[in-house]
């Protein structure tokens, strides 16, 4: 990739300060996303995916804060922007959709108005124009009869329709980056597939980069060109999507891949049990020393328990954080 990346995160640390003490909820987070690229962030619940996304758009609030590192959007440091400058980016250049399509829409405002508000807010359109653009936006996410649907209130729409409306709002201003934090976990499987497909197509058409966040490695690898796997506040492996399935390098990623059912495999047919990773994710206040995965890792040695592994470049391309990686 050439030139300045769209977004670049360097050695980001996120502090969690509950008043009595301060722990790093995430640290050593580095990645970059180029224009129009699709990038995935995968990991178990609580590993720090959502707070990383919030940091990107400057929305960490007490007790969380950025403890170190740099985030650049088109080369500009986000932390150095004024509050108004950050607000200018949000919704306009960087948009985000959430897990809960049920609650992410204002219940007392028609969806069309909520879409139109984006054009008024960020593009300085009049309400007349904005309402017209809202109909087009709703049509672009394949909502049938959009000119009637704009007047509907959120509770009149199904979950899938609401998530479509959310996508319409998020993409209204033609952002450069769409952050999708578990955008489909609340939806039926069939609707899920439709929504993901829609999101991917729209972003591809418009050259919008996607940062997709999920605990589902299969889903993310399907949508994204590159995937980063997070464990307990650190990125442990970053690879091309195909590589991560073919030859996962970090023991945690290997465990994740082994626990996925594959079409036609013996596990999918129910003949053998899927492998699961033994043990539980450590709590944020009691991360182990050294490699945080060491209590659950079959390959752990003494050094793993004392020394934090650095990030290594893989010959095949990609990054891994493990003393004994494959």
């Amino acid at each position: 990739m050439t030139g300045v990346p769209l977004i670049e995160v360097e050695d980001l640390r996120i502090d969690l300060d509950d008043g009595s003490r301060c722990v790093a909820a995430a640290e050593g987070i580095s990645f970059r996303i180029d224009r129009g690229e699709t990038f995935g962030l995968v990991g178990e619940s609580g590993c720090g995916k959502s707070i990383t996304a919030l940091a990107l758009i400057g929305l960490l609030r007490q007790p969380l804060s950025i403890g170190g590192g740099v985030i650049r959007f088109e080369g500009r440091e986000i932390q150095r922007l004024s509050a108004a400058g950050q607000r200018e980016l949000r919704g306009n250049r960087i948009a985000m959709i959430f897990q809960e399509p049920m609650t992410a829409l204002n219940p007392v405002s028609p969806v069309g108005r909520q879409i139109a508000e984006m054009f008024v807010l960020h593009k300085g359109k009049s309400w007349r124009e904005a309402n017209q653009l809202a109909v087009e936006a709703l049509a672009s996410v394949r909502v049938p009869a959009p000119e009637r649907r704009v007047n509907d209130y959120p509770h009149q729409l199904s979950g899938g329709m609401r998530q479509r409306a959310m996508i319409a709002i998020a993409l209204a201003c033609g952002p450069d980056l769409l952050i999708a934090d578990e955008p489909t976990t609340a939806l039926d499987v069939t609707v899920q597939a439709e929504i993901i497909e829609l999101m991917r197509n729209l972003c591809a058409e418009r050259g919008t980069a996607i940062l997709m966040i999920s605990h589902d490695l299969g889903l993310v690898a399907n949508v994204c060109r590159r995937v980063a796997v997070m464990y307990a506040g650190r990125i442990v492996e970053e690879r091309g999507s195909a590589d991560i399935f073919r030859a996962p390098s970090h023991p945690y990623t290997q465990g994740l891949v082994a626990s996925l059912p594959r079409l036609g495999s013996r596990a999918a047919l129910g003949r053998i049990r899927l492998k699961e990773i033994a043990g539980v994710v450590p709590a944020i206040t009691s991360f182990p020393d050294g490699c945080r995965f060491n209590p659950r890792c079959a390959q752990a040695t003494d050094i793993c328990r004392t020394v934090t592994p650095e990030t290594d470049l893989l010959e095949a391309g990609g990054l891994v954080r493990c003393h004994h990686h494959a």
């Binding site: 607000r87 306009n92 204002n106 219940p107 007392v108 960020h122 959310m166």
Partner: protein, 273 residues
């Protein structure tokens, strides 16, 4: 949805009061101030004088009809001022929190600690009697309940998904408060406002009764009661009809407030969706 009796009766009484106030020039038989005639002073109610006449021979019916204008103006305008103050303070305090919230809380507690009528009396003493000072005095002293409700709603609404989504979409604080928070707390605010109008009508009557309200000879229900004090045994109709007007208006507003609460209750609303 079943329409409730309190909503209908309350709404009808309030609408009636408003209509009477609006149509006063057409409903009244005589001019409430100028048509004094000592020849027919203190007439009891009859076909000619529906509600009787006072000691200056003025038609009580016409004065009650015109009095609706003062009572309702005071009730509506002063409560509007209260609602605006209460919502502005409570909403911003609940949304922003921090030192501003502490300041607003202290102010609210102060207002709650001092009976609002005493506070209004003090303001009237400074401003002097009259409609404008009445509006200011009652408008500045009765916002604490609205403020409490607005603050509590803002506190709970601020963590709602759509409020956070709005932040993520680049909405500024003011825009979030107006488009995301305010419409979602309007129900309870309207209920409190309706009940508040009732108590403002009563306060107007009380202040006018004490001689601090609307200046005679222009009629207000409270000042009519005040004037009738000495003749309560000899000419009871002088106090009965303005009293009845106050009673029915306040009753109507309270019923309406209750009815609206039933309809706008967020729980009954979420049950419907």
């Amino acid at each position: 949805m079943k329409l409730r009796a309190n909503l209908i009766i309350g709404g009808a009484l309030f609408a009636l009061a408003i209509l009477v106030g609006l149509l006063a020039p057409w409903l009244a038989h005589t001019d409430p101030v100028l048509d004094a005639n000592l020849l027919n002073a203190e007439e009891p109610p009859s076909w000619t004088w529906w509600f009787g006449t006072d000691d200056q021979g003025r038609d009580i019916y016409s004065r009650v009809v015109y009095g609706a204008r003062v009572s309702l103006t005071v009730g509506i305008v002063s409560q509007l001022i209260n609602s605006v103050i209460g919502v502005a303070l409570g909403l911003s305090a609940g949304y922003w929190g921090g030192w501003w919230d502490d300041v607003v809380n202290a102010l609210t507690n102060l207002m709650l600690a001092i009976p609002s009528l005493i506070f209004a009396l003090a303001i009237m003493a400074v401003l002097g009697p009259g409609l404008t000072s009445l509006l200011i005095a009652l408008g500045l002293t009765n916002w604490s309940f609205t403020c409490r409700i607005a603050r509590a709603s803002a506190l709970s609404l601020r963590s709602q998904g759509y409020v956070q989504a709005a932040t993520v979409l680049g909405y500024g604080d003011l825009r979030i408060m107006i488009t995301q928070l305010l419409p979602n707390m309007l129900g309870p605010i309207v209920v409190i406002g309706t009940l508040g109008m009732g108590s403002a009508v009563l306060s107007e009557a009380a202040l006018s009764f004490l001689g601090l309200g609307v200046r005679p000879p222009f009629p207000s229900w409270g000042s009519m009661l005040s004037d009738a004090r000495d003749q309560i045994t000899t000419a009871p109709w002088l106090s009965v009809f303005p009293g009845l007007a106050i009673f029915l208006t306040v009753l109507g507003l309270n019923l309406l407030g209750d009815g609206l609460r039933d309809v706008l209750d967020p729980q009954s609303r979420s049950r419907r969706t």
